[in-house]
Structures are given as C-alpha cells and as structure tokens.
Amino acid sequence: MKILVCFKTVADADRISQQDWQEAAAADDYEFPHVPTIIDPLGESALELALRLKDQDEDGRVHLTALSVGNKKCEKDLRTLAALGFNELYRVHSDTTPHPVVASYAIASFCRNHGPYDLILMGDKSPEVGSGKTPLIVSELLTRPCMIEIDALSLVDEDEDTAEELHIHVERGGDYGIINETLRLPLIATVGDVPGTLLRVPTLKQRNATKDVQIHMEQMDHTLSGSDWKEHITDQGLARGVILKSLTPVHQERDVKVYTGEDATERVYEDFLKGKVE
C-alpha cells in the first residue's frame, strides 16, 4: 500500500506576535524568518496517523512517502520523518509559501510522476493560509474521491484485499457519533483537529541511523514556479481568493469589579448570579 502524506513547514503561530502580524500585513509578506518553524498541526496529525498504520503493519505492506512543497526549511522536518520510519522523502521547491492552487498543482503533478498512491493524506488546512482548498483541488486534478476530517485509520485484514482492490478502515466523527467505514482505495483523506495525534519524537539513535537518507528535491512545473502563475490559474478559472488588506488588533481586556466587606458574597449574587443559578 503506497501512502503519500503531504505537509507544510510553517512558522510557529504561537511565537508570532501581534506586532509581527501587523508588520507582515503591511508588507504583504507572511514568511516570518525569525520565528522557529513547525510542521503544520493538521499535517502533523496526518503524519502520525500514517505512522500508526505502519505500526500495525506486520507484513511490510505499508510504504510511506512524505512530501512538502516549500523551501529548504522543510528538510529539517523531512529528516525527522526519515528517522521515524518514512521510506521516501520529497521536497518540491518553492521559495515562498505557495498559493493553495499552486501547491495543489504541484502535488498532483508529483503524484502523476511518482504514483499512483493508494492513499494520500494531508491536513485539512494550513494555519497560515487556511483555505482548505488544497486537498479538494488535488482530488479534482487526480479524479480521486476525497474524504474530509477523518479521525483514525487502520489496516484491513490482508485477505479482505485483492491485488486489484485495496481497502482501509476509516473512523470519523459524524452528527450521530463515530462512524467506522471500510473504504476502497485509492482515496484522498484529510485530517482535522484530532486530539492525541501529536507526532512522536525520534531518538538520536534513530536520527543517526537515517542521517544519510536522501531527501529528493524537485523543481516545480515551470508554468507554476514563475511570476506568471497567477495568470495561469486565472486561465484555469481559479480565483486567487481573499486577499488581506489590513489588520487591526482587537482590543481585549478583562473588566474587574472588586467586592469587599462582609456582604460581598450577597452583592456578587445580586449583581451576577441572581436568576441564573438556583
């Protein structure tokens, strides 16, 4: 079973200050070179779910490939994934954070060249762009079904599969509780905010054992990598979407009223709680 997991290396949003955001908005540049990077949180969950599939795999059926469309910064994360057991590591080069449409075309192109993949996993959306478009556009470009917001995956018994037809168990939350389904592959699946799916941490020994593993770097399709990509996607009828024009901080403060004196409890009750609690 060939599984491709796509992720992004992004600036750690917890370490981006209000001032950083305002300066970035003014310059229309959201690269934040001073901020340490992390794997996008939902992509991280997708990577961990893929590793859990490999944990279940006693027969060597699962082959994991990690892909990121980005600059050299993502190689640090690809090295981590090598140490954790990913079999192949690819980076499609992009100097800056690619537009979701550009990233989608790059992923689809990669899949045509290296696939087919039985399962493509990715996060629902990235924290800094947040369009949620990438998996859906990839799905359209590859004409593969896409299931969004899965919570867990597990392998089916080997005898349920045939050489022509592979399956996978998928768990996801629905309006009526947890839904467990067995789905036919190939499939694109996205991972939302799933608790308990932080990526495991490799030991130094695991890192040393995989330090010479090659990270393959590929150039993006020239029609997407140059400055003419906006025209290209306009030709395809794909609008750029929302553009941030300005950013104003929301003023937040807590209103505090201090009650003192022997009747403080009674007055708090009168002012705030009367009629709201028994």
Partner: protein, 488 residues
C-alpha cells in the same frame, strides 16, 4: 513526641486563622514537589511526602511565629514564593511538613529614585515590579526566563540570574539589603548602603540559602535607568562551538559589557533560530546610554568577525527572537499537554566553568549523555552568562519516556543525566549549579562541589538551623546513597 497532622494544622490556625491554612488535598499534593519532577507533576503522580498544610503569611511577625512553632515542635518547613523552582528545592522531603507561602506579602514598600533602589516584600512578582518601574524609566535589570512566574524572595533565595546579567550582574550584585527570619523567630535586617567593610558580607548568608537557613521577608535591590531605545542587537552564525567560546572570552577580556552574550550550539540553535542552517549561533545585545551601546556594539562586532567561520545575520532576527524568550503559565500548560501526548520531555541543567575548561565540560557531557542515556531525542545547550574568567553552560535535553512507570522516570532518565552533568563538571573543575540552586536533586553532589569548604556550609546550617527544620534535604541531603548518588 512529634505532633500529629491535626495538631500541626491546629497550631497554624491558632497563629494565622483558618482561612490562610490550606489543607485541601489537591493543593497539598501539588505543593509536595516542583518542576524537577515535571513528569510526575504532569501525570499527577505524587511520590513525595504530602505536607500537613500550606500556610499563607501576611507579615514578618507571622513568619516569625510560624517558624518558632515549627522549630519548637520539630516540623519541617518549606519556604516558597513563586513556586517556579526546578531542582527539587520545594519538595516536602519529610512527613507532615508545612509549606510557608509568602506570595501574599506582595507590597512594594518604597521606590527610592534618588538612591536608585526599590524595597519590596518577598511576594512581589518580578514581572509586575519591573513593568511598573519601566513606566517610570527604570528597571531592576533582572530578567530571568521565568520572569512571569517569579517573586522577589525566591529570586534572592536561589541566587537567581537574569538574561541581561553580563551588564547588570546576578541577583547577588543587585541585592542591597534585606529582612529575614530565622527558625527560632529571630528577625534580622541588613540595612541598605552602597558598600560596607564591617566584617564578612552577611548578605551572602541569605543569598542562595534556598530556604534552608532562613525565610526572606523583604528585599531591597538596585535600580537602573531603562533606555531600550538605545539597544543594539548583533547576531552571527559560527561554524565551531569552541570558536564561539573563544569569541565570548575575547569580548569579556577586552572589557566590553554587553547586557546579553549568548552562544548556542547547533542542536539548541535549531530549536530557536530557523535561520541557523546547522551552525552554532552567537548573539549579543548592547544596552545603556547611546554612546556606550554604539561603542560596545562596534567593538564586539570587530572581535567576532575576526573569528574563523563567522557569518553575520540580520540584527532584526535577534531583536524579534528576544520578544518571545520568557516562559509564563501558558507555556507551562502547553508543555504539559505535549508531554502527556508524546511522553517526550525536555529539561535543562546549568553549570559554570572557567574559560580553560568550559568547552571540555560541554563536549564531554554531550558525548556521555549521547552514549549513555536511553531514548534520548535531543542534547545540546547554550552559554548565556559570561564573566571575565569564564561562562556558564545551560544543557538542554529531551528524551522519550519508554517502558517505565511514571514514578520510575526520575531515576531511569533525569537523575542519570544529572549525574553525568555533575560528574563531568566536577571532573573538569566547574560548578555544578550556575543559577538554579542545588535544590534537593543536586544536593547529592554537595560534597564534591564544596570540597574542603563543605565545613563552612555545614557549620552555617548547624548554627542557624540547629534543629534541622528549614527545608531539610535542600543543600544537604537527608539520606545519601554514597555508592550511587544519582538514585534517590
């Protein structure tokens, strides 16, 4: 005959009233340890004796009364303020201890702008004190990474140091005078003067006593002008760690006084600086009057650029990085969630050494920990406080907790790493604790650290705490495993 828990609580209530004597089980459990046992804390497994009560004191007289009661009845007390200790200093090592919490003694008594000193009670939070002072164009100059958590009494008790220490010094350089209470109830004040030559400097009995000699109720520290508009930042990548230490030494020996002088090894740099590209990182900040900062920055820049393998980086990257350095309650809560989710835990241990041994300590510790500690996921570190004769090393390490119970983690991993760091530091002639204190964890190496001068420490303890009620186990262990000191 020792008192029962009930009698201890009753005795405390007679002094402080019922409301300030806390016996809630969860509070007692959480007060039985500190961040040295972070893994246990996160999993809410409490292995230390649970105290009889946590008591909140509001005045020096109350502290004296509580201490006298404890002393008369052989009750172990653990003084605390901000509860941010990380070397086991706040563990209640004896049954039925009383934790004396000074955080409600939080009044700023006097800001004296003429004498440039501020006097405050032990529970004044450093963050709010310094924020208030900065609005007046002043600063304490003290800024540890735990600034959002710490309070003034604890900072003095642990011989704290801040990020701008290379200019302002450690808390020992800032403390002017103080008021303390000894276990027999004796209240002592050390007056506030610029200098004195009247015998031994008795402030140093208080500084770093870690609650094992006295309870600090009031401190007076120096003030400095706050002039952030003149700050100049410098940053460099440097290929060899050893050259980084040489650059730090050169800066100090040539007489420059940056407020910040830091050297990160490549592992630690990778976690902090996305632009490090697999190299070590040197960074500096010059602070003070404009003319001095300009001269300081130019002088440092010339020294560092003359070192081999140096690449300057945009100073803006350093300035921005500084904005996110401190740790508050949010970061601690987030870290706890990550530990629970991954069983991967990160810890730091700091030591110091002279210039002729600091690189040897660093290299040796990294090599041994890499080879001897199981399930290690990261080992690195940085130097962040430099002096004319040497610098510190702040080891940073992460490991996965694998195949062991929560309560076994401390001996399987943390104590083992501590042992390696202490052994190598002592072997090369450094000090095993630069600014976190000995606590109860590193107290097991107190004999190796002090050598023949242990006599002086032991004599101080016997003189000021003859009945052994002050934070027992801190500084000097209650029990010591001579053959395997790291197992406790």
């Amino acid at each position: 005959m020792s008192l029962t828990r009930k009698q201890i609580v009753k005795g405390m209530q007679d002094i402080l009233g019922n409301e300030r004597v806390i016996t809630d089980e969860q509070v007692l459990k959480e007060s039985s340890n500190d961040r040295y046992r972070k893994f246990e804390q996160v999993h809410e497994v409490f292995t230390q004796p649970i105290p009889a009560a946590v008591v909140y004191v509001n005045s020096t007289e109350e502290v004296a009364a509580v201490l006298k009661f404890a002393n008369d009845n052989d009750i172990n007390v653990v003084p605390r303020t901000g509860h941010s200790a990380i070397e086991g200093g706040l563990e209640t090592a004896r049954e039925n201890s009383v934790v004396i919490d000074g955080s409600q003694m939080n009044k700023v008594i006097e800001v004296n702008e003429e004498n440039m000193q501020v006097t405050c009670q032990c529970g004044v939070p450093l963050q709010s004190l310094d924020d208030m002072l900065r609005e007046r164009g002043l600063t304490t100059g003290h800024s540890p990474q735990s600034k959002p958590l710490t309070q003034m009494g604890g900072l003095v008790a642990t011989r704290s140091i801040g990020q701008f220490s290379t200019l302002y010094g450690g808390i020992e350089d800032m403390l002017v005078g103080c008021e303390v209470v000894f276990p027999n109830g004796e209240i002592c004040r050390i007056k506030n003067v610029p200098r004195r030559s009247v015998g031994p400097d008795i402030r140093h009995i208080v500084l770093g006593n870690e609650g094992a000699l006295c309870f600090i109720t009031e401190v007076t520290v120096k003030l400095f002008k706050y002039q952030p508009e003149n700050n100049i930042f410098l940053g460099y990548k440097i290929k060899e760690m050893e050259d980084g230490f040489k650059a730090l030494r050169e800066v100090m020996v040539e007489g420059f006084k940056p407020s910040v002088a830091r050297l990160y090894d490549l592992q630690d740099a990778e976690m902090n600086f996305p632009w490090a590209d697999g190299e070590n990182v040197l960074l500096f900040m010059a602070e003070g009057p404009a003319g001095i900062t300009k001269a300081t920055a130019e002088g440092i820049d010339a020294i560092v650029k003359a070192m081999p393998g140096v690449t300057p980086v945009d100073p803006k990257l350093i300035e921005k990085w500084f904005d996110h350095l401190n740790w508050g309650p949010e970061q601690i809560a987030e870290e706890a969630e990550e530990i629970k989710a991954t069983d991967n835990i990160g810890i730091t241990t700091e030591i110091s050494g002279c210039w002729d041994c600091i690189y040897k300590i660093y290299a040796s510790v990294v090599e041994r920990i890499t080879n001897e500690v199981p399930d290690l996921t990261m080992i690195g570190g940085h130097s962040s406080h430099s002096y004319m004769n040497g610098t510190n090393m702040y080891f940073v390490y992460y490991y996965n907790v694998v195949d062991c119970k929560v309560e076994d983690e401390i001996n399987k991993y943390h104590n083992l790493i501590n042992r390696i760091i202490c052994e190598e530091t002592i072997r090369f002639g450094g000090s095993i604790a630069h600014h976190h204190g000995l606590g109860k964890a590193r107290a097991h190496y107190v004999w190796e650290e002090y050598g023949s001068s242990f006599y002086m420490l032991e004599t101080l303890k016997k003189a000021f705490d003859p009945k052994g009620v002050m934070n027992m186990g801190t500084l000097i262990p209650i029990k010591h495993n001579k053959d395997n000191p790291w197992i406790f």
